[in-house]
């Protein structure tokens, strides 16, 4: 069996050209660091690979889910129930309103299956998108947006 390489998976999903950035998220310390030359993730870290784009289109792929989810930033206010990603739209809408949503991107989340929950994915995506935009948003604000997004998702489902 060939060794597992997220970068290969990323390139297979999104193509090999362009500037791909890697972010490691440490589950215990909640610290996110950008991958430098020679950095290898530990078992305690999950990985998000991302390539920015500037056409208002976001594409998400998760290691545990088949297919690519595409979201246009101009349609965030439309609450489409795409495979239960109301929460992701709601989160990005919060970020857009705060002016810290980047112009677009292709994200691939590699998360260990036993910690892979919706809340965790939202947190990872939010942290990476903020890093891409380069705005100093406090972690507690991001956590609050994630919480709000989940409440909105529950609400939308209950009254759908």
């Amino acid at each position: 069996m060939e060794p597992y390489d997220p970068w290969v998976s990323y390139r297979e999903a999104f193509g090999r050209y362009g500037a791909i950035r890697g972010f490691y998220f440490h589950r215990s310390t909640q610290q996110m660091t950008e991958q430098g030359p020679g950095d290898v993730p530990t078992d305690e870290q999950d990985i998000v690979l991302v390539r920015p784009r500037r056409d208002g289109v976001f594409q998400f792929r998760m290691s545990s889910v088949q297919g690519v989810l595409t979201i246009r930033s101009s349609e965030l206010h439309i609450r489409k129930n795409e495979s239960g990603y109301i929460e992701l739209r709601a989160l990005m809408q919060h970020m857009r309103s705060a002016g810290c949503l980047t112009l677009g991107g292709e994200l691939y989340l590699f998360v260990r299956p036993d910690v892979d929950t919706l809340a965790y994915r939202l947190r990872l995506i939010a942290r990476v998108l903020i890093q891409l935009q380069g705005m100093p948003i406090q972690t507690k604000v991001i956590e609050e947006w994630c919480k709000q997004a989940q409440i909105e998702g529950e609400h939308a489902r209950r009254y759908a």
């Binding site: 362009g18 920015p52 500037r54 056409d55 101009s74 949503l101 112009l103 292709e106 380069g134």
Partner: protein, 386 residues
């Protein structure tokens, strides 16, 4: 660029009329005889067109010419008063609007903060500012059109904003919606292309059939004018010099590539680099303040940006071989030495002796420039096709 072929006498008449009007604007005061010479039209044809333009109060006549022994020729000029165009700079949430005359002078101005999240809200916000500006004319004179400049990708033919990154909006049918609301033609254009349009009509592009306008500020962009017309391109991205790649392993750009000119030399990139040296400098205003104070690091950062922009200009000369390069935007205003760097680079390193003499010029930049440029879109249409 393919030229339109006259299909009927009506089209021809409209074309001649626009041509005469354009020549009057460019060479005013000008006599009917000179117009006939410049256009190769017969004197009666010119006289008929001029009579129409006078009747419509677009042109006026006065006795100014130098006599060659006979009667002094009657010279023609544009009517400067009560002939208006409206321009709105909608490149940020802070809209700036002007009512301008056909010579590009501001008659009235107004600002508004646009609060919007959807296409409909953006259209409504711009529509409200249009109403305010129209009201400022108090029903006097004639409004010939509304021009709107926006950032991002625009289809000027359909007047649709394809994508406005800062607003996160796609496919905004601005022209159709505003023309349904107001009784004037509406013109939508990308902000940098609108700036080039202003130069084409009133600035350093007057009479220059081919030039390239390079904007440098937070980002870097460009617009190409060929045969006196803005070149749009098949996919509306002609002139995107900011995404010309100069370094294979350079910093990451917002477009997803590395080493784009904008990622190396745009003010946002300078801020990113400066913040590493001094984290207290976190906004463009901070950085510009440091530059004004003569801070050595800031001065060096702008100089380095100048070197990269110089390479971008050089590449543009090699690609398009324009007659003139116009440099506009806050970076050149803040650090005019960049202009000298660019000129020097072109003079020493362009491919041929002739191309080394490419005319590189800085054009003035101000807060209202965007709105005046938007107004020029409407003026431009008046002079090109009626």
């Amino acid at each position: 660029m393919a030229k339109e072929t006259p299909r009927n006498s009506k089209w021809m008449r409209s074309y001649n009329r626009a041509l005469v009007l354009r020549l009057i604007r460019m060479h005013q005061p000008i006599s009917r005889v000179e117009l006939a010479q410049r256009t190769n039209l017969t004197k009666p044809t010119v006289s008929n067109i001029v009579s129409e333009l006078i009747a419509e109060q677009l042109v006026t006549e006065r006795e100014l010419g130098v006599s060659n022994g006979g009667r002094k020729p009657i010279m023609l000029e544009l009517v400067a008063t009560e002939q208006y165009v409206i321009g709105i700079d909608a490149t940020s949430h802070q809209f700036i609007g002007v009512v301008a005359d056909l010579s590009g002078n501001t008659i009235h101005e107004s600002e508004a903060v646009g609060r919007f999240e959807t296409n409909e809200e953006l259209i409504e916000a711009i529509g409200r500012l249009c109403e305010t500006l129209i009201a400022q004319t108090k029903g006097r004179g004639t409004i010939h059109g509304i021009g709107i400049s926006v950032h991002g990708m625009v289809n000027p033919e359909t007047g649709v904003i394809l994508f406005a990154p800062r607003f996160h909006l796609h496919d905004v049918e601005l022209k159709v919606q505003l023309e349904a609301r107001f009784d004037y033609p509406v013109f939508i254009e990308n902000d940098v292309r609108a700036l080039a349009s202003f130069e084409l009509l009133f600035g350093e592009g007057v009479g220059v059939e081919q030039f390239f306008y390079l904007y440098a500020g937070e980002g870097i962009g460009g617009a190409y004018v060929l045969d006196g017309q803005l070149v749009d391109g098949q996919h509306h991205i002609t002139g995107e010099v900011g995404h010309m790649r100069l370094d294979l392993d350079g910093p990451i750009c917002s477009c997803g590539n590395r080493g784009c000119l904008e990622a190396l030399a745009g003010e946002k990139a300078l801020l990113r680099d400066y913040a590493v040296v001094d984290p207290q400098v976190s906004t463009l205003a901070d950085l510009r303040k440091r530059l004004n104070e003569g801070d050595e690091q800031a001065v060096r950062a702008y100089e380095r940006a100048g070197e990269y922009i110089g390479i971008g200009v050089l590449n543009t000369i090699h690609l398009l071989n324009p007659r003139r390069i116009l440099l506009g935007g806050p970076m050149f205003e803040l650090a005019p030495t960049i202009v000298d760097q660019i000129k020097e680079r072109v003079e020493h390193t362009a491919l041929t002796a002739a191309s080394r003499e490419t005319d590189v010029k800085m054009v003035p930049w101000g807060e209202k420039q965007g709105a005046l440029s938007a107004a020029a879109l409407a003026t431009n249409s008046l002079f090109q096709t009626i």
